[in-house]
Each structure stands twice: as structure tokens, then as C-alpha cells.
């Protein structure tokens, strides 16, 4: 049955869910923009973030929203390790190598995660706000979702401040635009790369921690969000944070609406239908920029 209140509720949910994708896409965006690097295992970082947040909340009894910070820090560290031991070594070689390494990482992450936390059933990060919702007439939205949107906004503001006001942020921007010039100007590209990857990973970790509060998760949920994040970047344009935000929201709404109107199967497929559609018309993406 399709009703207006159902549609409104779906819309609200879409916006809330879209926020998580925004974080993930932004992380990916930053890494690609600055390092021209493709990491298909980005979604696995989200998964790790969710598990770390879960463990911290469970073991230390921390409020799940504070666990987000711990998740961000841990995943950032993992990101630094990945950059140093895997991606740095194939820099400059065939472009396809990044894809291969990412694939290997996906297998490693998923299986190690399964060993640590089995996957017979899915788990959720328990939130003190679970089951409580705000009623707006016939429509209700959980407090967790509202808080998630708030957290994302805060992080995004922080990000914008970082890129515009700090030295490292400016260095990142310079590197992403003209790498060689940046090098000549004395910017330590190596350091910039490390920081960028860590930042992108931290954002993925945050996305994961939020995901874990809103949705049930298991060691293998990482694959799809990665592709959705890429899809958002294509929709919103590379290197553009506003683009990723709009893309993320649009995507979240599209996904939820598709399921509501067409059925559960289309949940993932809608992303690609959108994506392929857009790319066929404009191979450089909706807000296409140089350097796809």
C-alpha cells in the first residue's frame, strides 16, 4: 500500500540513511582527489568501524555516540598501515594493480572479521535511544536517525574547516590540484598522502559506527556501501564536498523510495541503474570535473 505518509516517512528515512553514505563517499572522495587512488576496500573500513564501535560500547560501556570517536581513530590507524604497506608499494605501476590490491584487502578484512565476530546473525550497536522516536503527525522518525544526521553535519563542518583553514588542509588541496607544483613548492607529498588516507579512513570509520547504530551488520556488509559511495561520487562530482552531500542525500532517498515503491530487491540495484544511466549520458559524471 502506498500512501502519502508512507512516502514522507520513506523520504525522511532516505535522508537519514543518505547521511551515512555521505560520510563514506566524502572519505573516498578525499582519497581519490588527493592521491588519485582507488580503494575498493573502503566499505570494509566502514565494517571495521562498526565492529570497533560495537566492541567499545559493549566492553567499556561507552555511549555509542562517543564510540564513534574511538572508531574513527582506530580505522584511521588501519588506514595509515594500508597506505604504508600496500598502496604505497604499487604507486606508479599499472592502474589495475590498485584494484587487485583492494580485492585482496576485501578478502582479508572480511574473513578476519568473520573469525573475530562470527556471522550467523547480525548485530546492532545498542543505543540508549533505541525504540524511541519523534512523531510528526502520522510520521515517526527515530531519535537515533536524527542524531545521526546531526553527527554527520558536525563532521562535515569540521572537514570544511580543516580543508580551508589548516595548513595540512591547504596542502591537500594543492596536491589534489597540481601535484608536481605542490612538490616543487616544498610540500611533503608523502606526509600529505598519509594524512589524507588516514582522514578518509576515519570518515569511513565514523560512517561505520553510525551504520551500526541504525542497521544490523555483519562482517560482509562492506561490499555494497563501497560501490554506493563510488556511485555518489560520480553523481556528485569528484573532489566536490557539496557534490558528495547532494549526491548522498539523493542516493539515500532514491534507494528507500525504490524499495518502498518497487520492492526489496531493488534496494541495491537502484544505485547502479542510476549510475549506469548517468554515465551513459555523461561519462564524466553529473557535475563532471577533470581527472575522472
Amino acid at each position: 500500500m502506498i500512501t502519502t505518509s508512507g512516502l514522507i516517512e520513506t523520504l525522511l528515512w532516505g535522508i537519514a540513511n543518505g547521511c551515512i553514505y555521505i560520510l563514506l563517499a566524502t572519505g573516498l572522495n578525499i582519497i581519490f582527489g588527493v592521491m588519485k587512488l582507488v580503494n575498493f576496500a573502503h566499505g570494509q573500513l566502514l565494517m571495521v568501524g562498526a565492529f570497533v564501535a560495537y566492541e567499545v560500547t559493549k566492553v567499556a560501556g561507552l555511549n555509542p555516540y562517543l564510540s564513534i570517536l574511538v572508531a574513527m581513530a582506530s580505522v584511521a590507524l588501519i588506514g595509515i598501515a594500508l597506505e604504508k604497506f600496500a598502496f604505497r608499494r604499487i604507486r606508479g605501476t599499472d592502474k589495475l594493480n590498485e584494484i587487485f590490491i583492494s580485492l585482496g584487502l576485501i578478502y582479508v578484512f572480511e574473513n578476519v572479521a568473520t573469525l573475530l565476530w562470527e556471522r550467523n546473525y547480525n548485530i546492532r550497536i545498542p543505543s540508549p535511544l533505541a525504540g524511541l522516536s519523534l512523531s510528526l503527525g502520522e510520521v515517526a522518525i527515530g531519535y537515533d536517525r536524527i542524531l545521526a544526521m546531526f553527527v554527520v553535519i558536525v563532521i562535515l563542518i569540521g572537514l570544511v574547516l580543516l580543508t580551508k583553514k589548516t595548513k595540512i588542509g591547504l596542502a591537500m588541496k594543492a596536491t589534489s590540484q597540481k601535484r608536481d607544483t605542490a612538490m616543487l613548492m616544498g610540500i611533503n607529498i608523502g606526509k600529505v598522502y598519509i594524512f589524507t588516507f588516514a582522514l578518509g579512513a576515519a570518515l569511513a570509520g565514523a560512517a561505520g559506527a553510525l551504520y551500526g547504530i541504525l542497521f544490523p551488520f555483519n562482517p560482509v556488509i562492506g561490499a555494497l556501501p563501497t560501490i554506493k559511495a563510488f556511485a555518489i561520487i560520480i553523481l556528485g562530482g569528484l573532489g566536490s564536498i557539496p557534490g558528495a552531500v547532494i549526491g548522498g542525500l539523493l542516493y539515500g532517498i532514491a534507494e528507500n523510495t525504490a524499495v518502498y515503491l518497487l520492492g526489496g530487491i531493488w534496494q541495491d540495484a537502484i544505485a547502479f541503474a542510476l549510475l549506469i544511466g548517468v554515465l551513459v549520458i555523461r561519462p564524466t559524471g553529473l557535475f563532471g570535473e577533470k581527472g575522472e
Binding site: N122, A130, P216, G264, Q267
Partner: protein
């Protein structure tokens, strides 16, 4: 002259020797051909149901082996059972044919017992059918698993092999059996309560929603529910249905669309993990504070644990109460089984799939004893002729028999409905039978009256 005494003695000696020889002939030495039975247990070890099957199988096999094994008349000896695990991972539709093929062609099992999901079993049984290996299916609630020859020939599930199909046996309930129980329960026990609490007119039909897995099993439940309601003229209306992919981890969108249909109750055709998640998401995330009914495959301690307090006053259709609350067991055999399983497996309580498996193994034992050989065709025939007293499942005529005729190789188990009550002292959900009142051989079976959950919201008037 012959001494009469010596003659008498001679006669006695001859008679004694004759008897001795006759007796010795009647208990010949065990045949040199005797070998252990290779029992293939088809269990998806990465799923809750599969692990239950494996544990119950080992319990039964160890019990039988401890007593020396199964008597095979042909070899004049008891032979032990070798446990051969046929691991079908999640028992998914694409995961079963390979392991079963290996078991049948490489390990050369004498019998297959197991199979939890419909999709998985429909495929896993194909190598067994082709190789004429008897397969006692303990799960899979579509009766299609025993009669694929009755489909139209251009249906891909059609199998034109009556002889091969005759090796399939189904020791489990079917979707019709338990959907019948669920719908009648809703009409007889739930509707009156809802009508009374909300002052609805009795002509108002109960509003039922069905949320189901998007496969043969789920769609089958949805369809059979509709037909039972029509056939039995029940005062129920199916106001909404929603399907979810087997791979889904969240059901929030489906629940939202069901919520829009304003149901009084939600019938969930899923497995343990997804059903529990649906109930939790329905109540906590989507605000669908309704009455949820789970299918018997969820009769497993993991389901109770996953649900937790959220499942308070929700419903579970079942055919064996492994967590029976009461000072005496409704069926003593069930109590014994549950205790033995607990002892063997460090306190784990068995689920429904384990129960079916345990019984199936003893059914096989009985068939081998009747067939007097391990020869698969003879065993198959003996299985068909099974007539044993009921064991862990309540049967309509209190005996285990496999049907013949159109509804073939099926059993007639009785199913019931439990309500899950939250016990805050122990922090656990406990099941209590709310329907029906009595069972064959059990005069007082119902344990309490059905109650609506706290915070229950019916659908629209």
C-alpha cells in the same frame, strides 16, 4: 541284546547334538562383508539450523553405536554408523548440490538425513535422486521435495524420474500444515481478543499481513495462507504482503510498507535469524507495534536469545516444545531427549531441526532392521512401510507412518502455537502453549490463555 539304558542315552545324545547343531546354524557367524553404515548428515554448518542438525545427529549416532550399532540381519551382526558430514554452508539454494554429490559419488553414503531449507534441499536432493540414495528430509516445508513429477513438464523444477523420487522421504511439516494452524489460531483465539479489547464488531475481519522470504518457501506460505483463508472461510483478510531477498540484512523498508496497510497481525515466513531481526526492527525501528507470528523453524534457543525482551508476548508456531515450561513434560520422550542433548552439548537446548533429525535416524534404524540389509532399494521400501510408535513429534494417530497416494511420503504431525513470555527474573523468553486445547493422547495441552502484547496497536477499524 541292546541295553535299553544305553539306547535311551544315545537317543538323548543325538537329540541334544541335533538341537545344538540346529541352534548353531541359526546363529551363524557374522558375515565377512559386514561394514559400517555411512550416514550422510546434510547440515549447513554456518547456519543455526545446520548446527542443531549436526549435534542431534551425533547424539543419536553415539547412542546407537554405544548399544553396538544397528542389527543387519543379512550379515548377522550389528554394524556401527559412521558420521559423514555433508556441509552445505548456509544450506542456500546454490550451496547444496556440490557437497551432496560428493557424499553420494565419492563417500558413497548409504543414507542421507538432513536438509533444512526448501531452496537448498530442492537442489541438494537432485544427486540423491539420480543416484537412488534414500534421503530423509528433516526440513524444507514444501511438499514439492517428494513429488516433483507432478509438475508441468516445462517447469524447471519438474523431474521425470518416479523411481528416483521414491527415495525421498519427508519427516517434517509442510507449509499447509502449519499455516492451517496459524490461521485457525488467529481466527479462534486472537480475533475475539482484539474485537473485545477494541469494541470492534464481530463482522470485522482480522487484518493479516505476510512478510516473507522471496523464494519458494516464502511465496508458498503467502499463497497457501490465502487459499486456506478462502477454503475454510475464515474471518481474516490479508491486507498486505512484502518480500525480502534472502541476502537482505535489514527489513525496514518492507516493514514500513506493511505498516501502511494497518495490520492486526504479521505472519513472518523466514528463518531464525531474519525473523528475529524483523520483529525487532518492526517494533523498535518502524514503530509497527503489532502481533508477530514466527514459523516453527524458529523453535531454537538462538531465536529466543536474539529476540530478547522485544519478543515479549509474541507468537511462535511449533511442533515440538524443546523448552517446555512445566513440571512434567507433555511427552516424556521429548524431556529425555532434551536432557540428553543438553548433557552432551554443554547445556545447549535443542531446536526443532535437531528433533526431526534425531527421529529420522531412528526411523532409518527401524527401516534397516525391517529390510534386513543396507541395500538402498530394500531400505527405501522398508522406509515406505514404516509403522512405529510416535517419538518426539506428536502425530495424528500417534504412530509414525509415511503417507501413500497423492500426498506421498509425508507425515502427519500436529502443530501448535506458543506465546513467548518474558521472565525478567532470568532475563529470558519462555514459551507457553496457547493453542490448541488438547492433542492426541494429551488431554490438557494448553498452558495459558492467549494475551495481547503490551503496547499492542491493532490495525485500523
Amino acid at each position: 541284546m541292546v541295553n535299553k539304558k544305553i539306547l535311551g542315552l544315545l537317543v538323548i545324545v543325538i537329540v541334544v547334538v541335533a538341537i545344538a547343531v540346529a541352534v548353531w546354524q541359526m546363529t551363524p557367524a557374522p558375515s565377512a562383508e559386514a561394514r559400517n553404515i555411512k550416514m550422510g548428515i546434510v547440515a549447513g554448518m554456518q547456519s543455526v539450523e545446520g548446527q542443531d542438525i549436526e549435534r542431534a545427529a551425533k547424539l543419536a549416532i553415539d547412542e546407537i553405536n554405544a548399544a553396538g550399532g544397528i542389527w543387519v540381519e543379512e550379515w548377522h551382526t550389528k554394524v556401527k554408523i559412521d558420521f559423514v558430514l555433508v556441509d552445505t554452508l548456509h544450506d542456500g539454494a546454490g550451496e547444496t548440490a556440490g557437497p551432496v554429490t560428493k557424499a553420494v559419488t565419492d563417500d558413497k553414503v548409504d543414507i542421507l538425513i538432513g536438509g533444512a531449507t526448501t531452496g537448498g534441499t530442492l537442489n541438494g536432493q537432485i544427486p540423491a535422486i539420480q543416484n537412488r540414495v534414500p534421503f530423509i528430509i528433516v526440513g524444507a516445508s514444501l511438499n514439492l521435495v517428494t513429488r516433483r513429477g507432478s509438475l508441468p513438464s516445462d517447469n524447471p523444477l519438474y523431474i521425470n524420474d518416479t523411481e528416483g523420487m521414491s527415495y525421498m522421504f519427508h519427516y517434517c511439516t509442510t507449509i499447509s500444515d502449519y499455516s492451517e494452524t496459524v490461521t485457525h489460531f488467529l481466527a479462534e483465539s486472537v480475533k475475539p481478543k482484539i474485537d473485545a479489547e477494541n469494541s470492534f464488531d464481530s463482522s470485522r475481519k482480522l487484518r493479516l499481513a505476510v512478510i516473507h522470504r522471496d523464494d519458494g518457501y516464502g511465496k508458498g506460505v503467502r499463497d497457501v495462507t490465502n487459499s486456506i483463508i478462502a477454503e475454510d472461510s475464515l474471518p481474516i483478510e490479508v491486507v498486505g504482503t512484502a518480500a525480502y531477498a534472502a541476502s537482505a540484512t535489514t527489513y525496514q523498508s518492507q516493514l514500513i510498507s506493511i505498516k501502511e496497510a494497518n495490520p492486526d497481525a504479521v505472519y513472518i515466513a523466514g528463518f531464525t535469524a531474519d525473523t528475529a531481526e524483523i520483529i525487532k526492527e518492526g517494533i523498535n525501528d518502524v514503530g509497527l507495534k503489532s502481533l508477530y507470528i514466527a514459523v516453527e523453524i524458529c523453535e531454537d534457543p538462538q531465536f529466543y536469545a536474539l529476540l530478547g525482551e522485544t519478543g515479549s508476548n509474541q507468537l511462535l508456531e511449533s511442533k515440538v516444545a524443546t523448552q517446555w515450561q512445566g513440571s512434567t513434560w507433555y511427552l516424556p520422550k521429548v524431556g529425555t531427549y532434551v536432557e540428553n542433548y543438553k548433557t552432551k552439548w554443554n547445556g545447549i537446548i535443542s531446536g526443532m531441526m535437531g528433533v526431526d533429525t534425531y527421529d529420522a535416524i531412528y526411523i532409518y534404524k527401524n527401516a534397516v532392521e525391517q529390510a534386513k540389509t543396507l541395500n538402498k532399494t530394500n531400505v527405501k521400501n522398508a522406509l515406505e512401510a514404516t509403522d512405529m510408535p510416535q517419538s518426539l513429534l506428536i502425530m495424528e494417530n500417534e504412530r509414525i507412518t509415511f503417507s501413500t497416494g497423492t500426498n506421498y511420503h509425508e507425515i502427519l504431525p500436529k502443530t501448535f502455537v506458543e506465546q513467548l513470555i518474558w521472565d525478567s527474573a532470568s532475563g529470558e523468553l519462555k514459551p507457553f502453549v496457547v493453542y490448541p486445547d488438547t492433542m492426541p493422547g494429551i488431554s490438557s495441552f494448553k498452558q495459558r490463555d492467549f494475551d495481547l502484547p503490551e503496547n499492542y496497536e491493532p490495525g485500523s477499524p
